[in-house]
Amino acid sequence: MVDRESQLALEVALTGLADRLGPPDSVIRHLHRLSGGASQETWAFEISNSRGTRALILRREPFARVSTLQAGLETEAELIKLAGAAGVPAPSVVYVLRPEDHCGRGFLMARLHGETIPRKLLRDAPYIAARARLTTDCGEALARLHRITPTKPLPHPLRLAPGSVRLKELHSAYTDNGLANPVFAYALRWLADHLPPDPSPRLVHGDFRMGNLMVDEDGLVGVLDWELAHLGDPMEDLGWLCAPSWRFGEIDHPVGGFGRREDLFAAYERASGHTVDPARVRFWEVFGALQWGLMCAGMGTLFMSGADPSIERGMIARRVSETEIDLLDYLLPKSHGGDHA
């Protein structure tokens, strides 16, 4: 729940920022928190002044923080600019915060018109045409994204994390949570035995999935949440998009709950000129199922330690078994099988 005092402080700071950037008669309207975890926040608001009204989004970290996995918001802002220039649907970055703005670290971007809630996008009538286009849109966006090469140094260099490094991270997450989970252990073993050779590293979005894709009635309009971007195996993005945890009940449509793998691969191949190896994508789907399972287990650790005793955390931890059945469908399918094989 939003702390009223911090919201008021943010409103004051944003008013000062708006006055410095535009005509000094700016008013901040409709400031409200959209989402965010303990460290990153997303806010929506409008700036009204004598020039008119602008709808904006603020992504910020209120406090300085060091995380080894996240690229940092200044880098995220730079990546979103590069993505837009490369033809990836993305919001336009309006301003990167400076310390004297007293808003924390982060950036402002233009608010896109569209929807991100997976269950609406996968089931509601207004998105029928969008669903028919979305697989192709995603294949093309990923092909363009994977071609991006920064022409100048980023504020923070992206971490180099191809499959061999990402697998070590999963192994650590398993060990650090003190788990005794035979299905997860078998999946870790399978991944180690099937790890493909690391390709020459490309930009990887790292969280390209339903929930982070802004879609309107005509298709994909924005790829959001670049905080897990890194250099690595581009097939990681295709596998994560197809992971069972991101199908939201539409399990027979492997691409995000809306599409077919062969259509995604075809669109990607047309746009990139590179052939997709389905076995490599499958490796990353299994990786993705286990990664989400370990994230759920991590929530259980946070809950049990008292660090976050909220009922939401506790209940997400009890979704570990969902990822177990997904892993078993991939790795030890019953004779009647799933659609994973």
């Binding site: 729940m1 788990l179 005794a180 989970n181 035979p182 299905v183 997860f184 252990a185 078998y186 870790l188 073993r189 399978w190 069972p244 199908r247 009940g249 539409e250 399990i251 287990a297 259980g300 809950f303 049990m304 005793p309 909220s310 009922i311 939401e312 506790g314 209940m315 931890a317 009890r318 979704r319 570990v320 078994s321 969902e322 177990e324 059945i325 997904d326 078993l328 469908d329 790795l331 030890l332 019953k334 009647h336 799933g338």
Partner: protein, 127 residues
């Protein structure tokens, strides 16, 4: 083995939430949290009725696999370590059967509406 937090750990969080939101205007977030809390109570109810049988059967299978007696946590840790090191193989029919039964039993408590679980139930009952 059912994951943590157990029902007895979840229920105090439900109680706290219900006390916290009492008297508040029902904001969309409070409505969402109330649904999560209701799901937690349903889960705890299923765990109370199914949990003991599931744990006993899982332990019996593991003791059969290892030929020794120990508590559920110890046996699970032993199986996990054997699968991770490659000393035991998941494709071994007895282990594969055990893993499937255990996960399906867990889902019957955790998330019986999960689509992959529902599909599995339909396929096994249709044979």
């Amino acid at each position: 083995m059912l994951d943590k937090p157990a029902a007895q750990d979840l229920l105090p969080a439900v109680a706290k939430l219900l006390r916290d939101i009492t008297g508040e205007a029902p904001t969309p977030h409070a409505v969402f949290l109330s649904k999560v809390a209701a799901n937690a109570v349903d889960l705890a109810t299923r765990e109370a009725s199914l949990g003991p049988r599931i744990a006993a059967e899982e332990r019996a299978r593991l003791q059969q696999l290892f030929g020794e007696t120990a508590d559920l946590e110890t046996l699970n840790r032993a199986l996990a370590e054997a699968l991770l090191s490659g000393a035991r193989d998941g494709t071994d029919p007895a282990i594969r059967d055990h893993l499937w039964r255990t996960t399906l039993d867990k889902l019957s408590v955790d998330q019986p509406r999960y689509a992959a679980y529902q599909r599995h139930l339909k396929r096994t009952s249709g044979r």
